[in-house]
C-alpha cells in the first residue's frame, strides 16, 4: 500500500470522527409566519433544535410526536460508526488492501442502510397520521424530502447535510479515492 493511500485513509478517518462532534443532517422548515425558520439537527446519537416547536405544529395534522427515545438507531450508531472507522485506521496501519475494501463496502452499506432507514422514518411520520387530527387535507401526506426541498402546506421543508454530514461525505469520497486513485508518476505531489 502506497503512502498516499494511507494518508488518504487517515484523513478520511479523521473526518469521519467529526461525526461525534458535529450534526450530520438537518431538516429545515420555513413558513411565512416563521421568517426565522425552524430547524431540527440530526446527530450520530440524537436530535437537537426546535423539536418542541415542530411537534407543536405537527399535532395539528396528527403527526406522531418526534422523540429521541423512539430511535433505537441513536443507541447503536455511535458503535457501528466507530467500528467502521476503526477498520479504516486498521487498513492504513496494516497496509491491508483487503481491509480497505471491507471498510469501503462497509461505508457504502452504512450510507445505503442509513438513508433507507431515514426514508422509512420520514415515510412513517408523514403518512401515519392521527385520523382525529384537526387539519385533514385530502390526499395530503407530510413526508419530508430525503434530500432537497418540498412544499408541505404552508411550510417549505428542506432536508440537507449538516457540517458533520458534509465532512463525513468528504471522508467517504477520500475513502473511494484511497481505493481507486492511482497516481501516474509519483506520489510526491500529494505528499
Amino acid at each position: 500500500m502506497k503512502t498516499h493511500t494511507r494518508v488518504l485513509i487517515f484523513i478520511s478517518c479523521v473526518l469521519m470522527l467529526t461525526a461525534y462532534f458535529l450534526p450530520l443532517w438537518h431538516i429545515l422548515l420555513d413558513a411565512p409566519q416563521y421568517p426565522e425558520g425552524l430547524e431540527m439537527k440530526i446527530w450520530l446519537n440524537g436530535l437537537s433544535g426546535s423539536i418542541q416547536q415542530i411537534n407543536g405544529l405537527n399535532h395539528y395534522i396528527g403527526m406522531k410526536f418526534i422523540s429521541v427515545d423512539d430511535f433505537k438507531e441513536f443507541r447503536i450508531l455511535p458503535y457501528v460508526f466507530g467500528a467502521l472507522t476503526l477498520i479504516g485506521f486498521a487498513a492504513a496501519i496494516a497496509r491491508s488492501r483487503r481491509l480497505l475494501w471491507a471498510w469501503f463496502i462497509g461505508l457504502c452499506l452504512f450510507a445505503i442502510v442509513g438513508f433507507g432507514d431515514f426514508y422509512v422514518w420520514e415515510y412513517n411520520y408523514g403518512h401515519n397520521l392521527n385520523p382525529h387530527a384537526a387539519i385533514k387535507v385530502e390526499g395530503m401526506n407530510y413526508q419530508p424530502p430525503l434530500f432537497g426541498y418540498k412544499q408541505l402546506l404552508n411550510f417549505t421543508a428542506g432536508s440537507l447535510p449538516d457540517t458533520g454530514g458534509i465532512l463525513v461525505g468528504v471522508g467517504g469520497l477520500l475513502a473511494a479515492a484511497a481505493l481507486f486513485y492511482k497516481p501516474q508518476q509519483s506520489s510526491n505531489k500529494i505528499k
Binding site: D30, P32, I112, A133, V137, E138, L146, G148, K150, Y181
Partner: protein
C-alpha cells in the same frame, strides 16, 4: 479529476435514488411593497387622513381609532376596561358603565367593531363592539367618541358572534361562543351532560332609530353549538341573518380535536323578520335572567345601571321556518354577505375551499323541502349542493374572513398560509394573493361589509408580529398591514403596530364622522347633579362622613384651592366642572395618593373622583393636563386632620394674598 472514476458514482447514486420529490429551494415571495407606497400613505402635517379605522383592542377591552392611510393612532376609546388615563370606569359618573350581573367587571375582551348602518351603508353615527368575556354589547357615540351604552346579554357564555347589525340597524345581534345551561335553569349539572343541558341563545338587541338606545328584544334558543361570527343579509336577503357554527359535534372537552371531526359544520340562517313577527304576536316565552343595562346620559354626563330581570325567548325547535342550516366545511369562522345581498362567502378555517352560497338557491331549497337531515329532529339541514353557488378552489390555507370592494371582488384572509387572497365573486377565480405578516385573522375593506363599499384600502389584521418592528422584549405589539386595492394587483403600502389585539376593524370615509363631531360640551346643557357652573357657586358640604367638594377648573386655577376640615374616615367626593367653552381645553384632576385614578374633564363636563384620605397631613391636588402657560400653577391643598378632629370645614381661593 481522474480519480473520480465511474465506480465512485455508485454510492452517490444510491443516495440520490432514494430521494423523494426534491429540488432546489423555492424562492420566497418577494416583498410586495408598492413603489409609490411612501407617497400614498403620506399625510402632510396639518392634513387629515381620508378614512377612520376602528380597531378592536382584543384583550385590552377597548377600541382604537386610527387615521388611514397614515396609520396614525388618533384615540383609544375606553369601552370595557377601566382607563386611569381619563378616569373612565373610575369616576363616579362612569363606574356604572362597567356594572354587570356579576358585579363590577372592569375589563373584557373586545372583538368586533360594527358601524351602524342605514340602508345597508355605514352611517357614521355609532360604533358597536362586543365584550366576548362577560357577554356585553357596547355602543360608542361617534360624535363624542365616548362609550354611551353597555348592555349585558343573559343566557350565554361568550358573546363572540356579535355585534353584527341588520341592514338598517334594526337589530344588533349576539350569539354565544360557549353554550351553557340557560340562566333560569339549574346550572349545577355535570359538564358531560352538555348535549342534554346546554343551550345556545341568539340575542336580538333592538336599536332605537334616532337615539341609538339598545334593548334586548328577544332571544332564540338554539342547539348548543359554538357560534363564531355572523352577518346580516341586505337587499334581497334583508330578512335573514347568518351565523357560523362550529363544534357541531357538541364536544365539551379537548375541542381542538373533538370539535374538528366533522367534515362539515353549519351556517345557521335565521329569518329574523319572522322571529320579530312571532314575538309581536305574543308567541315568546319570558324567561328569567339577570343582566345589566348601563346608559351614559350625555346631558348629565352620568351613567346609570339598571338590572333587568328577564327576556322574551323563542325555542326555534317549536317554530318551523325560523332557522335552516347550510352545511359548511369545516369549522367556519366568517360568513360574509356580498354587497348585493345575493351570496354568502363562508370561511371554514380548516377547509381547503371557500364555499360561496347563493341566497336565491337557499330560498329555492327551502321551498323544495328536500333536506339533508334534521337537527334535533325538527331543524332542517339543506343540501350542500342545493345551496352552493360554487367553491373558490385552492384559495390557500386557513380561510377566515372575507370582505368586498363593491367592484365584484372579494378578499379573504388565510391564517395558515399567511396571505390575503383576492377572488372574483361571479366566477370564483383567484385574481391575486399578497403575503401578510403574519397570520391574519380578519381583514377590513373601507365599507367592506356594507351595501356600498368604498374600497380603496384594505387592512390585514394579524395575529403574529415577530420581526416586523423593533423588538420590545417577549411581549410585542400586534401588527396590521395597509394594502392598496385600487388596482388589479394588491399592493402593500404600510405596516403599523396596534394596541391590544385587533380582532376586527371597520373603516369609514372620514367625512361621514367629521360632520357630526362635538368640539366641547355646552355648560348650560350640563345637567350633572353636582355641576358647578360658576366659580362663585363652588363649595364644600359635609354630611356625616361624606364630604362633597363642588370644584371648578378654568385656566389656570382650581377653585377652591385651599380646603380644610377633611378628616380620616371621610369619603370625599370631588366634583370637578371644567368651565372652559373652547375646543381642546380639557383639565386634569389628581390627588396625591388617590387609590383609584385621575380625571380628565372635557370643557363643559363634570366628573367626580371619590377620595378616601388615608394619612393625616397636607395633600396636594393639581391639574394633570398641560392646559396653559400657568398649568404648573394650577394646584391646591387639602388639609387632612385625624378622625374626630374639630377642624371646621373651610374652603377658599385667593385668600391670604402674598404681600411684598
Amino acid at each position: 479529476m481522474k480519480f473520480l472514476s465511474y465506480k465512485l458514482l455508485v454510492p452517490a447514486l444510491a443516495i440520490l435514488a432514494g430521494s423523494t420529490i426534491s429540488g432546489c429551494k423555492p424562492g420566497k415571495a418577494g416583498s410586495s411593497v408598492d413603489a409609490d407606497a411612501a407617497q400614498k400613505v403620506y399625510v402632510a402635517p396639518g392634513k387629515y387622513d381620508e378614512v377612520y379605522a376602528f380597531l378592536s383592542g382584543g384583550f385590552s377591552g377597548q377600541v382604537a381609532a386610527y387615521g388611514i392611510p397614515s396609520g396614525r393612532l388618533l384615540k383609544v376609546i375606553p369601552v370595557f376596561s377601566q382607563n386611569p388615563e381619563n378616569g373612565y370606569g373610575y369616576s363616579e359618573e362612569t363606574k356604572p358603565m362597567l356594572n354587570t350581573s356579576h358585579g363590577f367587571v372592569p375589563w373584557d375582551d373586545s372583538h368586533h367593531p360594527e358601524l351602524s348602518k342605514t340602508n345597508g351603508e355605514d352611517d357614521g353615527r355609532w360604533l358597536f363592539i362586543n365584550g366576548n368575556n362577560t357577554p356585553r354589547i357596547a355602543r360608542i357615540n361617534l360624535a363624542t367618541f365616548k362609550t354611551v351604552e353597555i348592555l349585558e346579554l343573559p343566557n350565554i357564555g361568550g358573546n363572540h358572534a356579535s355585534p353584527f347589525c341588520t341592514e338598517n340597524t334594526e337589530y344588533v345581534v349576539g350569539n354565544t361562543r360557549f353554550s351553557e345551561p340557560l340562566d333560569n335553569s339549574n346550572g349545577d349539572v355535570p359538564i358531560n351532560s352538555y348535549k342534554k343541558n346546554f343551550k345556545g341563545a341568539v340575542s336580538f338587541v333592538k336599536v332605537d332609530k334616532d337615539k341609538g338606545a339598545m334593548n334586548l328584544a328577544f332571544q332564540l334558543i338554539v342547539p348548543p353549538f359554538n357560534y363564531d361570527l355572523a352577518h346580516a343579509g341586505k337587499g334581497p336577503s334583508h330578512d335573514w341573518i347568518f351565523f357560523t357554527c362550529y363544534n357541531t359535534e357538541q364536544a365539551n372537552t379537548l375541542l381542538e380535536v373533538n370539535a374538528s371531526q366533522r367534515d362539515k359544520d353549519f351556517i345557521m340562517a335565521v329569518n329574523w323578520k319572522k322571529a320579530e313577527e312571532l314575538i309581536a304576536a305574543g308567541k315568546g316565552t319570558k324567561i328569567t335572567g339577570k343582566y345589566a343595562h348601563n346608559v351614559y346620559n350625555e346631558n348629565t354626563h352620568t351613567a346609570t345601571s339598571v338590572m333587568e330581570t328577564g327576556t322574551q325567548t323563542l325555542d326555534v325547535t317549536k317554530f318551523p321556518g325560523l332557522v335552516y342550516y347550510l352545511p359548511c366545511p369545516k369549522s367556519p369562522h366568517g360568513v360574509d354577505v356580498t354587497p348585493d345581498g345575493e351570496y354568502m362567502a363562508a370561511s371554514g378555517k380548516l377547509a381547503a375551499v371557500i364555499p360561496v352560497f347563493s341566497f336565491k338557491k337557499m330560498l329555492a331549497a327551502i321551498d323544495k323541502k328536500q333536506y339533508d337531515g334534521m337537527i334535533d329532529g325538527v331543524l332542517p339541514v339543506l343540501k350542500y349542493e342545493d345551496v352552493l353557488h360554487g367553491e373558490v378552489k385552492k384559495p390557500g390555507l386557513g380561510p377566515l374572513h372575507t370582505e368586498f370592494d363593491g367592484k365584484g371582488y372579494a378578499y379573504t384572509t388565510m391564517f395558515v398560509s399567511s396571505e390575503v387572497v383576492k377572488w372574483k365573486i361571479d366566477n370564483l377565480e383567484i385574481i391575486d394573493r399578497i403575503p401578510s405578516y403574519y397570520s391574519p385573522g380578519h381583514l377590513s375593506v373601507v365599507g367592506g361589509d356594507s351595501k356600498k363599499p368604498f374600497g380603496k384600502y384594505l387592512l390585514s389584521l394579524n395575529k403574529i408580529t415577530k420581526d416586523r418592528y423593533l423588538p420590545t422584549g417577549p411581549e410585542l405589539a400586534q401588527a396590521c398591514q395597509l394594502i392598496d386595492i385600487t388596482g388589479n394587483k394588491m399592493k402593500l403600502l404600510l405596516d403599523f403596530p396596534t394596541i391590544g389585539e385587533p380582532h376586527y376593524a371597520q373603516m369609514i370615509p372620514a367625512e361621514k364622522i367629521l360632520k357630526n363631531q362635538v368640539k366641547f360640551f355646552k355648560l348650560e346643557e350640563n345637567k350633572n347633579a353636582y355641576a358647578t357652573k360658576s366659580e362663585k357657586d363652588t363649595k364644600v358640604v359635609r354630611n356625616g362622613n361624606r364630604v362633597d367638594v363642588y370644584m371648578t377648573a378654568i385656566r389656570s386655577h382650581l377653585a377652591p384651592d385651599n380646603i380644610e376640615g377633611i378628616k380620616i374616615g371621610d369619603e370625599v367626593y370631588v366634583h370637578v366642572t371644567n368651565l372652559e367653552q373652547d375646543w381642546d381645553v380639557p383639565h386634569g384632576f389628581a390627588i396625591k395618593g388617590a387609590n383609584n385614578a385621575e380625571l380628565l374633564i372635557m370643557p363643559g363636563e363634570t366628573c367626580t373622583l371619590k377620595w378616601t384620605p388615608g394619612l393625616v397631613g397636607i395633600v396636594p391636588f393639581y391639574c394633570t393636563d398641560f392646559c396653559s402657560a400657568l398649568h404648573q400653577e394650577m394646584q391646591g391643598y387639602f388639609r387632612v386632620s385625624p378622625a374626630g378632629s374639630n377642624v371646621p370645614v373651610k374652603f377658599s381661593i385667593g385668600e391670604n394674598p402674598v404681600t411684598q
